[in-house]
């Protein structure tokens, strides 16, 4: 990834009054995955989340609790 692209992501993470504290990634399984792809995908996902108003939807099991 070029320095300018990384600066772009870093700058985006510090926009609109937000200050970056920590960022982490869970990379996908594609072979030959590049830094550019991770950066683009993460940036796109964060942008979409803010655009949607940060709807809070943790995954839900839909199962009843039970012991073995």
């Amino acid at each position: 990834m070029s320095a300018s692209r990384m600066e772009g992501l870093h700058s985006f993470l510090n926009e609109e009054g937000r200050e970056l504290v920590n960022i982490k990634f869970f990379p996908g399984t594609a072979r030959g995955l590049t830094m550019d792809q991770i950066e683009e995908e993460a940036k796109g996902a964060i942008k979409r989340a803010f655009k949607a108003g940060l709807p809070d939807n943790p995954p839900v099991s839909g199962l009843e609790k039970a012991s073995f």
Binding site: M1, A3, M6, E7, L9, H10, L13, E16, G17, R18, E19, L20, V21, N22, I23, K24, F25, F26, P27, G28, T29, A30, L33, T34, M35, Q37, I38, E39, E40, E41, A42, G44, A45, I46, R48, A49, A52, L54, P55, D56, N57, P58, P59, V60, S61, G62, L63, K65, A66, S67, F68
Partner: protein, 191 residues
């Protein structure tokens, strides 16, 4: 903090543990104001399964600063993997200073190490960040399949497939957690 969290969850014997229960316990610890989970329909699972973005902001110009963790996960993953991704990312709420990725150089170093081969010639802080990113996956597992439930499954000789179904975790993790080495591994991962 992580050891305390895992100890608290270790007593649970009824499954599945919901992701929101883990969140509530972390918020209760008082180290984070908000943890938000956003499923992303457009995230390409070949490229990314999830991302963790922790930031501060002020709701009003002179208001108090809020510390927020935004966890975005790939909506096309199965629910078992969505849960693992979300809990792994939640572990980063507990990251200590050196494990946090904050600067441009940190970002560059983290991603290059996550994707590249481990190098014996390029030591540095980013190695610790990348190592933490990988280890967090295993640190999250005892929250979704707590020790009491795990020991119960071992005593009753429950299969990995059945554990995976009840704990709602991928079967590969269920197999690992049913091995004799798992209790010791949990101790090592959280010390």
């Amino acid at each position: 903090m992580l050891a305390k969290l895992i100890k608290e969850f270790s007593k649970i014997d009824r499954l599945p543990v919901e992701v929101s229960e883990v969140r509530d316990a972390i918020i209760k610890m008082g180290i984070q104001d908000e943890i938000i989970f956003c499923p992303d329909e457009k995230m390409d699972q070949k490229k990314l399964w999830g991302t963790y973005y922790q930031y501060t902001y002020r709701k009003t110009m002179y208001g108090d600063t809020s510390l927020v963790s935004l966890i975005i996960y790939c909506a096309s993953l199965g629910v078992d993997w969505q849960r693992v991704v979300c809990c792994k990312e939640m572990i980063h709420v507990l990251d200590v200073g050196v494990e946090k990725t904050k600067t441009i150089d940190d970002l560059d170093g983290l991603v290059s190490r996550l994707l590249g081969p481990l190098s014996t010639e390029d030591f540095g802080i980013c190695d610790i960040m990348a190592a933490k990113d990988r280890i967090a996956l295993y640190q999250a597992l005892p929250l979704l399949f707590p020790m009491e439930a795990r020991n119960d499954a071992v005593r009753k000789k429950i299969s990995a497939e059945e554990v995976a179904k009840k704990a709602l975790i991928p079967v590969g993790f269920a197999s690992l957690m049913l091995t004799d080495k798992w209790p010791e591994l949990v101790e090592d991962l959280t010390c």
